[in-house]
Amino acid sequence: MSLRPGRPGSKGWPDALFRAAAVTCAALICLLMAAFFVELARNAWPSIRAFGFGFLTTSTWNPVTRTFGALSSIYGTLLSTLLALLIAVPLSLATALFLVKLAPPGLAKWVRQGVELLAAIPSIIFGMWGLFVFAPYMADHVQPFLQSVLGFLPLFKGPTMGIGILTSGVILALMVIPFITAVMRDVFTMTPPVLEEAAYGMGATTWEVVRRVTIPYGVRGLAGGVFLGLGRAIGETMAVTFVIGNNHQLSASLFAAGNSIASTLANEFTEASEPLYRSSLIELGLILLVMTFLIQIAAHLWLNRLGRASGRTA
C-alpha cells in the first residue's frame, strides 16, 4: 500500500488539524452509538427496576395503575414485520427476476426506477394513504374475501375494520420491496454468465436456470437482502402508527387492531407525564434498539462470511 496514513506534523499544523478533525468525527459516530445505549438504558432504569424481566412477558399496559408490560408491542412488531417479509420477499425475488432476466433493457430501466421511487416516498405519506384510502379498501374488499375463503382459521376471524396488523404488514411490505429488490437484482447480475449459459446450453428453461443456477449461486446475497428488509420493517414508525390501530390487547387474528414498539412510542410518549410511564416507554425504545443492533450484527457477520466464501474482502 503506497498510501500510509498521514503523519501529523510532516506537513505542518494544517495537516495535523485536518487529520485531527477527521479522527474526531470518526470517533464521534462511535461515541454516538454508545451514547444511544447508555442514555436509553439510564432513562429506562426506573422501569427496568420496577418490572424486571416480567416487562418482556406481560401484556398489561395500564397507565392508571402504573403497570406496564411490553409483550403486546413486541408481538405486534414481530408479527407485522414477519407478515411484511412473507409478502415482500417473494415479490421482490420475482421483480428482480423480471428486471434481470425477462424485461427488455429499456423497459427494465423504467420499471427499476419506478420501484426505487417507492422507497423515496416518506413514511408519513404511506400512513396518510394507508389510513384514508387503503384501510377502507381492505375493510370493504380484501378482508371479507379472505374471511370467506380462509375464515375457518383463527388468523382471519373477527370484524373486518381495515386497520390492524394485516394492513400494517401489507404497507410495510410495500415499503421494503424496493430495498430487497435492489439487493436481489444486484445479486442476480453478479452470477457469472458462463454458469447460466452452460445450463441454457443443456436445454434448461429460464425458470430452471434461475432455480438451479442463479438462486443457489447467490443465496447468501439474497439472504443479505432479506436482512436489510427486516431491519427496515422492524423500526418503521409513522406508516404503522396510522394503520395498526393502537391496541394493547393480544389477539390471534390478523384483522385485530394491535400495536408495535414504534407506534406505541409515537402515540403515547408526548402524553406520558408520569415518570414510570415515560420510563417504560423508553425501555420499549431500548428493546427496539437492541433488536435492530442484533440484526445489524447478524447481517455484518453474514456478509463477512459471504466475502470470505467468494474470495473477496468484505
Binding site: D15, A26, L97, G127, R212, T237
Partner: protein, 299 residues
C-alpha cells in the same frame, strides 16, 4: 457453492439427475407461468406507486392555494388557514440538520477513505456507520429527548434539528467513504508528489474528482430527512405559531400532517393532504433530479 447440489445427492443416495425428468411441454408451461407471475410482481409495485401518488396529488391539489403558503393555521374547527409557519419551520430545521450533519459525515468519510483504510479502527467505524444507518429514526428522537429536551426542560426546534442531523451523519459518512474510494490513488500520489499537503490533496483534488457523487449523497440525505416525522415527535413537537426561536417548540409539516390527519376537523384534514403533497413533491423532485444527473454522468 454449486457443489452442495451434488453433496446432497450423494448422501441421500438417489441417482436422479439435478433436473427432474418432466415432459418438455410441462416444463415450458411452468416457465411461462413463472414469467407471468414475475411480470405481475413488478407491476404490483408500480400499481401501488401510482395509486399512492395519484391519491396524494388529487387530494393535495385541492388544498394548495395562496393562503396555504401565506397564513397560519386556523384554530380547531375553524375554516381556511394555511401552514406557512410549518413550511418555514421544516425548512429551518432541515437546513440546521444539514449544517450539523453534513460536515460531520464528510469528515468521517474522509477519515475512512484517506486515513483509516485497512486499520482496525477504520473497520470498527464502518461497522458503527452501518449500525447507525439501521437505527429506526424514532429512536433518534427518543435519544435527543433524553439528552436535550429533559436537560433543557422543554421541547425545541434545536432538538428537532439535532435529531435530524443524527440521521444525516451516517448517511453522508457512508456515501463520502464510497465516493472517495472510487477516486484512483494515482491522483492522491500525484498531488502529494507535487508537494501539496494532505488537506489540500483531499479537499482540492480528491473532492473535486468525487464532487458529483458527494453532492448526490448530500442532497438525497437532506431530502430524506425533510420528510421524516418520527424524530420530530418528541423533540420539535409542533406549534400553531410562527417559528421565532429555536429554543421553543417549532412548527413543521410532517408532525402537522400527523396531528391534523388524526383530528376530526375536515379543514385540518384538508391541510394535512396539502402538506402531504408538498412534502412528497419536494422529496421526489430532489430524488428524481439527482438520480437523473447521476445517470447522465454514468452514461
Amino acid at each position: 457453492m454449486m457443489d452442495t447440489t451434488y453433496d446432497t445427492m450423494e448422501t441421500t443416495g438417489r441417482s436422479t439427475p439435478p433436473f427432474p425428468l418432466r415432459s418438455r411441454a410441462r416444463r415450458r408451461a411452468f416457465d411461462t407461468m413463472v414469467r407471468i407471475a414475475s411480470t405481475a410482481a413488478a407491476l404490483f409495485a408500480l400499481v401501488f406507486l401510482f395509486w399512492i401518488l395519484a391519491v396524494v396529488a388529487k387530494r393535495g391539489a385541492a388544498a394548495l392555494d395562496w393562503t396555504f403558503f401565506t397564513s397560519l393555521p386556523s384554530p380547531p374547527g375553524g375554516e381556511g388557514g394555511g401552514l406557512a409557519n410549518a413550511i418555514l419551520g421544516t425548512a429551518a430545521m432541515t437546513v440546521m440538520a444539514a449544517l450539523i450533519g453534513v460536515p460531520l459525515g464528510l469528515f468521517t468519510g474522509i477519515y475512512q477513505s484517506e486515513f483509516g483504510r485497512g486499520t482496525r479502527f477504520g473497520s470498527f467505524v464502518r461497522f458503527t456507520i452501518n449500525v447507525m444507518l439501521g437505527i429506526p429514526s424514532i429512536l433518534s428522537g427518543l435519544f435527543v429527548y433524553t439528552l436535550m429536551v429533559v436537560t433543557m426542560g422543554h421541547f425545541s426546534g434545536l432538538a428537532g434539528g439535532v435529531s435530524l442531523a443524527i440521521l444525516i451523519f451516517p448517511y453522508v459518512a457512508r456515501t463520502t467513504e464510497d465516493m472517495l474510494g472510487l477516486v484512483p490513488d494515482a491522483m492522491r500520489e500525484s498531488s502529494l508528489a507535487l508537494g501539496a499537503p494532505r488537506w489540500k490533496t483531499t479537499l482540492g483534488v480528491v473532492f473535486r474528482a468525487a464532487r458529483s457523487g458527494l453532492a448526490t449523497g448530500i442532497l438525497l440525505s437532506v431530502a430524506r430527512v425533510s420528510g421524516e416525522t418520527a424524530p420530530l415527535l418528541f423533540t420539535a413537537l409542533n406549534s400553531p405559531y410562527w417559528p421565532k426561536d429555536f429554543a421553543e417548540p417549532t412548527a413543521n409539516l410532517t408532525v402537522t400532517i400527523f396531528n391534523y390527519a388524526m383530528s376530526p376537523y375536515s379543514d385540518w384534514q384538508r391541510l394535512a393532504w396539502g402538506a402531504s403533497l408538498l412534502i412528497t413533491l419536494l422529496v421526489l423532485v430532489v430524488t428524481v433530479f439527482t438520480r437523473w444527473r447521476v445517470g447522465e454522468v454514468e452514461t
